[in-house]
């Protein structure tokens, strides 16, 4: 098995307001897959569909070789899940929460749970309902990591945490991935955080996956060009045009994906010239991808 998650033609609808359409996604084994997208783009819904918490209208979902939702419970035995909001029972203490959780996972690592509890400075007798947001985030991460899961599904795990706690949580995550070679699926709208740890990126917008590519390609393949005598764009362009904007009568600014240096020749053949090529940082690339996907004249990026 080379892919941990395979989703094809997924469709889901919530009234008339929001729909996921023809979603296809592949997460390779061992990847740290960053699932990016603005708020409300469908990231959490996709995760819930992926874990069998919501029934899809159409399409197929396979997680760790199990068809979801039918065999979601088998996949969930090997998945550590941290949802965006605290989902644990509020009336239990930290220790009771650990004991409750342990009962459902046969590979649960007690020693690791205790080590992480001390590292995260969580008191055994603290009530879950009295935990701060950061402490609650750490407890959820503790439980997910102590399961010895093959796949970690983390939905905005550091959202709203202060930088110190965020660093602690991400540190524990990176250690876990290093030692267990687990696959991580991490959803976030914090682009810079994803840039540091992820090797694959999927970008979601308006219920569609508008890009899925290795981080290296995402980081280096999106450029801003200053073009003089800009030619019309047809089907034969060797790159994907995300946006074009007129600067003056002679110059345009283009944002393209899949740029290679030899593509300058295409402009020269069309009687144009590329005057300047700028690298975009990840956040700019992300914004340009969204802009491109929302502009009807540009092509969808897959």
């Amino acid at each position: 098995m080379t892919d941990v998650i395979r989703i094809r033609d997924l469709a889901w609808r919530a009234g008339r307001e929001f729909a996921i359409r023809e979603l296809a996604m592949t997460v390779p084994t061992g990847a740290i897959y960053g699932f990016l997208g603005p708020n409300g783009s469908g990231k959490t819904t996709t995760i819930r569909l992926m874990l069998g918490m919501l029934p899809a209208e159409d399409g197929t979902i396979e997680v760790l070789g199990h068809s979801v939702p039918r065999y979601a419970h088998r996949a969930l035995e090997r998945i550590g899940y941290v949802p965006e909001r605290l989902h644990l029972y509020q009336g239990l203490t930290v220790d009771e929460s650990i004991r409750f959780h342990r009962a459902f996972y046969k590979d649960f690592d007690d020693a690791e749970a205790e080590r992480l509890r001390k590292r995260f400075a969580l008191r055994e007798d603290q009530l879950v309902q009295r935990l701060s947001k950061g402490e609650a985030g750490k407890l959820m991460m503790l439980l997910a990591l102590s399961q010895r899961a093959e796949l970690l599904v983390l939905d905005e795990p550091t959202d709203g945490l202060d930088p110190v706690i965020r660093r602690e949580v991400l540190g524990a995550l990176v250690e876990y991935v290093d030692s267990r070679k687990a696959t991580v699926f991490i959803s976030s709208h914090l682009v810079h955080e994803q840039e540091r740890i992820c090797d694959w990126v999927g970008v979601m917008d308006g219920g569609r996956l508008i890009a899925e590519l290795p981080m290296q390609e995402f980081r280096s393949g999106i450029k801003r060009l200053r073009v003089s005598q800009a030619p019309p764009v047809g089907d034969a362009t060797p790159f994907a045009l995300l946006s074009r904007e007129s600067l003056n009568a002679q110059h345009e600014e283009w944002v393209v994906r899949g740029w290679q240096p030899e593509m300058r020749e295409w402009f020269q053949r069309a009687g144009a010239d590329v005057r300047e090529i700028q690298d975009l940082d990840l956040e700019e690339s992300f914004v340009e991808l969204l802009r491109g996907a929302r502009t009807p004249s540009t092509t969808e990026i897959r």
């Binding site: 069998g52 419970h73 899940y81």
Partner: protein, 218 residues
């Protein structure tokens, strides 16, 4: 797994179960104490029967309340987090629901036992005329079945999906309205009584509530 589900149920419901247990233990004795000056002395068969007459409906109300309470507490906890935790656990939903049902049902046994003990205590304290007999076990069993029935019905409604539960409730309500309207327009209230009788007498689904809930009877 079941041990932990039961543990959470005990944590959420222990205060309610403790209060219910004290109430069901004390109710037979308090009831008798309110009707009579004291526990001791000669009483006629009629006095004893009258003394306990209203105990049955009160226990029916307690049984229904206990059933509702033990569903409402775990449901409120799970629905506060939109059921994300149980859905994320590695077991089929129906298995989780079965264990959650079992945990609540198990706790319902405690007030039934205390009712039985409280009834035994009263029977030990009062003098029963020779023509009458005490039925503490039967009363406690009826109480248990009544609370289990209420618990099961509400549990089934809550843990079905919202839409299905709404359809089921709507169907029952429409059925009752149709029967009531038919009785009103035809002037034939026998139809309504007939429906109610079919519900609360064997083999009707609510037959346990239609039975005699007497601690002391002939």
């Amino acid at each position: 797994m079941f041990g932990q589900i039961l543990y959470t149920q005990v944590k959420w419901s222990r205060t309610a179960v403790a209060i219910l247990s004290i109430v069901t233990f004390a109710t037979p004795a308090l009831f008798w104490r309110m009707v009579h000056e004291g526990f001791f002395g000669q009483n006629s068969a009629m006095e004893v029967m009258n003394g306990f007459e209203a105990l049955g409906p009160m226990l029916v109300a307690f049984a229904v309340f206990a059933g509702l309470l033990l569903v409402a507490q775990p449901w409120a906890v799970d629905s506060a987090a939109r059921h994300v935790y149980p859905l994320a656990l590695p077991l089929p939903w129906r298995k989780y629901v079965a264990m959650r049902f079992g945990a609540g049902a198990l706790l319902l046994v405690i007030p039934a036992i205390t009712l039985w003990l409280g009834s035994l205590l009263v029977l030990a304290l009062i003098e029963i005329p020779a023509t009458l007999r005490g039925y503490p076990g039967t009363l406690a069993l009826r109480y248990l079945l009544g609370s289990l029935l209420a618990y099961s019905a509400v549990f089934a409604l809550q843990y079905l999906s919202g839409r299905r539960a709404a359809h089921l409730l709507l169907g029952i309500l429409i059925g009752l309205v149709v029967v009531a309207l038919a009785a009103e327009f035809s002037g034939n209230t026998a139809l309504l009584y007939s429906v109610v009788n079919r519900l609360i007498h064997w083999p009707g689904p609510l037959a346990v509530f239609g039975d005699s809930w007497m601690l002391i009877d002939v």
